[in-house]
Amino acid sequence: MTGPDLSSTAPEPPEDLAGEYVLGVLDTAAWREASLRLRTDDVFAAEVRKWEDRLAALLIAAPDLAPSRDLWPDIRRALPADRGGSVAYWRGLAAASGLIAAACLAVVIMDRGRPQTIASPTPAVIETAAAPEEPMQVALLKPVTGPTAFVATLDRKRRIMTVSPGAAPTPKGKSLELWMIPPGGAPQALGVIPSDRSAKMPMPEAFEGRGDTPIVLAVSLEPEGGSPTGHPTGPVVARGRFSAV
């Protein structure tokens, strides 16, 4: 057994980036770098998986605790009516919001950095898919109040973000406004979402160059034309995030 004295005088082991990545101790820059490396370096990716497996036992040992209410009905409601699985899930979402292009694209979503094709394309194409190394990312903005979900897509190649409203109409005399909320920061207005079609906008700088992002997108209900104050004034109707699902 290694006693405290011995352990602190023994030579320090080399950095174990995979272990540190899985523990979550890396600062933002190093973490980002490691996330990128995950996608390109199979050996590193395998190391990360090994550490995930090793440390997962800590999770298994965490005490079980029932949520204070049954969350299943809410989860069920958030699932699409379509039962066709992951492919149909995205397709259903996309179709529901008129986001046909996304349904035709191979939606490549990063699985902790490993690209995985979740939806395979039906080639009834309107636009050509982005190159595989330039994944199109999709975020579902789930309803918070009210029935409407939104789908946001990031096209990194063209540097365009598209946000499409769900089927429910915008209430009369109101507008739906999109916000970007950086971690620990104040919401920044991105513009009003038309009630009948998708909003296209230049990709915000903040989404530059990473697969995963902690930035939250939220939609609030505002007076017609958008918030008069530059800050959200009405209830948040939906929110979500581009993430490495």
Binding site: L59, P63, S86
Partner: protein, 188 residues
């Protein structure tokens, strides 16, 4: 509980995941019924706030719905380990997205460090948990504590140093020594 029961549980969860991957919402409900207490325990342990944890737990099952197809039983990872990892990643994403997490007292119920895992987890995972626990106990207590804290709080070296009240270099050394020690112990 016998090994057969454990195998059965593991097989049942694997099958449920397969059906979820095929778009079977009833299978997801079955999975929710079997695993939500386990996964809620994980998420709450990380977030420390019940209502936030419940919110994230919903996300966890929606993520499972989307990603069930990427669970690969042949890789040797037990389904509950995979599910728990999804839950932890979701919870840590949330903790990070709200910025520097306020240290708040974790509810007493969550503070019980080492309760026995539920039966459905299966003997194999329970064995893994015991083994890891033994290996953590074999480490210098400060190293083990740093690893536990980092793992459950999802905090960076810097925040960890502040939390543990130790210099950054010392904390890095604890973590690196601790990781090396664990790796050696677990592969022994």
């Amino acid at each position: 509980m016998t090994a057969n029961t454990a195998d059965l549980d593991r097989a049942r969860l694997s099958r449920a995941l397969e059906r979820v991957a095929g778009g079977d919402a009833a299978a997801l409900e079955d999975l929710y019924r079997r695993t939500s207490a386990k996964l809620f325990g994980v998420v709450l342990r990380i977030l420390g706030d019940r209502s936030e944890a419940e919110d994230v737990l919903q996300d966890v099952y929606i993520t499972i719905w989307n990603r069930a197809g990427s669970y690969d039983a042949t890789r040797g990872v037990s389904p509950i380990t995979w599910l728990a990892t999804v839950a932890r990643n979701r919870a840590i994403d949330r903790a990070r997205s709200r910025g520097l997490r306020q240290t708040k007292p974790i509810e007493a119920a969550v503070d019980v460090a080492d309760s026995e895992p539920l039966a459905f987890v299966g003997l194999e995972s329970a064995d893994e948990a015991r083994r890891l626990k033994a290996c953590l106990e074999a480490l210098d207590a400060r190293q083990a504590n740093a690893i536990r804290t980092a793992f459950f709080d999802g905090v960076t070296y810097e925040a960890l140093a502040a939390r543990l009240g130790a210099p950054l270099g010392t904390v890095k050394s604890w973590i690196r020594r601790g990781l090396a020690g664990l790796k050696a112990c677990l592969s022994a």
